[in-house]
């Protein structure tokens, strides 16, 4: 299973499914990462975590551990 965590900086991926449950999952979806949306991985924080992505035309940062719950193709 390929997740958002595996997507390299500068690449775009399409979200297939969100795993996990509860608050974090809902938050990720509330912020616009839902099935079918394209996510562009902009950069990595200087200390290697979290990551910055562009989704629905704005910048969002999320931790790698949470990015792992986002399945992409």
């Amino acid at each position: 299973m390929k997740t958002l965590r595996d997507v390299k900086v500068g690449e775009t991926a399409k979200v297939v499914k969100l795993h996990g449950e509860g608050a974090v999952k809902r938050r990720i979806m509330d912020m616009g990462i839902t099935k079918g949306v394209e996510v562009y991985v902009r950069k990595l924080a200087p200390l290697g975590d979290p990551i910055e992505v562009n989704v629905r035309n704005y910048e969002l940062s999320l931790r790698k551990a949470d990015a792992e719950q986002i399945e992409v193709e």
């Binding site: 509860g22 616009g32 704005y58 931790r63």
Partner: protein, 782 residues
Amino acid sequence: MDKKLRIALAGNPNSGKTTLFNKLTGANQFVGNWPGVTVEKKEGKLLVDKEVTLTDLPGIYSLSPYTLEEVVARNYLVEEKPDAILNIVDGTNLERNLYLTTQLTELGIPTVIAINMMDLVRKKGDSINLKELSKQLGCKIVEISALKGEGVKEAAQAAIEAAKSGKTRPQHNFSGPVDHAIAHIEELALSGIPEEQKRWYAVKLFERDEKATEHLKLSASVKSGVEEAVKACEKELDDDAESIITNERYVYIAQLLKGIYKKKGKGELSTSDKIDKIITNRWLALPIFAVIMWLVYALSMGKSITDGGISIGTWLTDWTNDVLGGAWLTDGSRAILEGWGAAPWLTGLISDGIFAGVGAVLGFVPQMLVLFLMLCILEDCGYMARIAFIMDRIFRRFGLSGKSFIPMLVGTGCGIPGVMASRTIENERDRRMTVMTTTFMPCGAKMPIIGLIAGALFDGSTWVATSAYFIGVAAIVLSGIMLKKTKMFAGDPAPFVMELPAYHVPSIGNVLRGTWERGWSFIKRAGTVIVISSIVIWFLISFGSVNGKFGMVDDLYEDEDLVTDEYIVEVADRMGISEDEVEPMDDSILARVAQPVSVVFKPLGFGDWKPTAATVTGLVAKEEVVANFGIMYNFDARAQQAVDEETGEPLFDEETGEPIMEELDEEGSQIWENVAADFNNISDGHGKLAAYAFMIFNLLCAPCFAAIGAIKREMNSRKWTWFAIGYQCGFAYVVSFIVWQLGRLFVGGASVIGVILALLMLGALCFQLFKPYKEASKLTIQ
């Protein structure tokens, strides 16, 4: 109209909501907190119609039950039912902003949309068909520029009109199976709910929203009926109910915008993107961060501009302390009161008690205003979110936020603004944790204590100060790890999924207002706390009973009938000092109380009334610890005439011709010998260890009253304030205990019980540190 209208202002964070609120209400604002939580609540009267109240809801992305801000907002909307919602929407970010709109329109409250930043949209060459959008969403849309104040009045008028118009039903629909299920739920479970709120509750029931379900108090059979409908729909669409709804909303918005939003420029980097490319660059981010932090610190609390530094804050604070606080308030008030022939106790109370205390608070104000000004700029321009982005990796291990870095940094100067700087942290749990641990950082006022101990017992060795910082940082890290596993902190989940807003030039109005709000709230709250506590401590030091007579000890000691030679012997005996060392303070309430209380500190190695009294007075201000040692070792009576530093000539006052006596210096170097002798005396010769334990206790225990006031303000809860203070004192006690008891294993004189207890405490600490930890996934609000 006899009923006063209420309008709620709702919108995403960073959508210009605060700016719009300020423009709509002007100076008619009331800032407070939502009941029971640390979320700020603002209300104001509309400028266009003073009869209408505008409530600023917290900036939110959704109405989920998972974050405090969202729960606060939806409770207000569902339970208080305002007459209209003014929904501010960032035109440059329509998709995500309208996501909240689709939820707001379900509440059955008339909604007006104010689209902000349309000028930026046009600048990019894009266009939005507002007419069509308005028709599709079923709400009036007003185009505004909150920053320039354009369209703001029209938005307010539209909201007032909508408020008068009554109830609404949402226009948007979900896909077939979901719509079907929701209609079914409405019929099955919501017959008693007002028509306009049905959609909201039906969607919440469909999402299995626990908070809304609880509110409805459904019977078991209805519940299972609802669950059946939801399960059937979940099966059909192969996803969980919550995801289905979220998905459908975004799908609906995408569909909606297809014909309405015309995009022209594509792929081009905006100015904000270009700035961000440098500022959070993999290699440059940390150096730039360090420079910005250095600037914030140096400008607010660093070296004063008169000492070759760049700090305006310190310069003004020095002036306030020396001139305004010291000369005008304290000395001035004394001169006036004495001129009026006021009773000496009253003069003492007002000048030395209240004004000296108030002066101490006032002194911080300039530094704090400069600091808050810079923090507001960082917040307004968008850099604050980047700080969290950069520092998150380090701080999240200790249950803190990346933004906790600023309070900790500021805390090395003064804990009060440090505690207050934690307000920029969104997550309540992280914020509380930061508030609790910030004052572990050795602040400027604790430096003299370190200097005293280092000078008196360690030959001024620099490792004492170094170790103090190490202990401070370690205390924060260990506390963070231990506390996040406790019940108090177990409730709230802490997802770090954060928007990085576009950079923009900060608005002067917002920045100045934000600075003033924080500064004023400090002056008000901390001010009252410190005034009361200064009076109490002043009373404890000044009053006492001398030879059976109660009164001001200084006055009573002038009465030779009371202070007989036999009495002096008695006092000297009681205090364990020689007769010529006896002075009025030995009979004060503080000394009398400190004597028995000092037993508490016996297991820490400094169970004597002097360190105890010094620790207690340290609550007023940590500088007082050294000053108090000075008083207790009777420094004034032994002080020698001051000499000119260069010539070595004795100094005289120019006006009166009286000799100028030298003053106790900040680190108390003149009393080092006495301090060392005393610590050795009370600890069977292990003075170094006892003094070190004393220092640790004073570094980690409850901060000064002003800082406690700030903690109380930020916690917005008596329970949490006491928990914070109790934890700090308890932690300080345990660490000092371990150091003193285990330390004596190496220097000799260890007690078996002490060592066993210390090992038990150490074991408990380690257990809490290494205990496995699971992040909570549910939000619980007391």
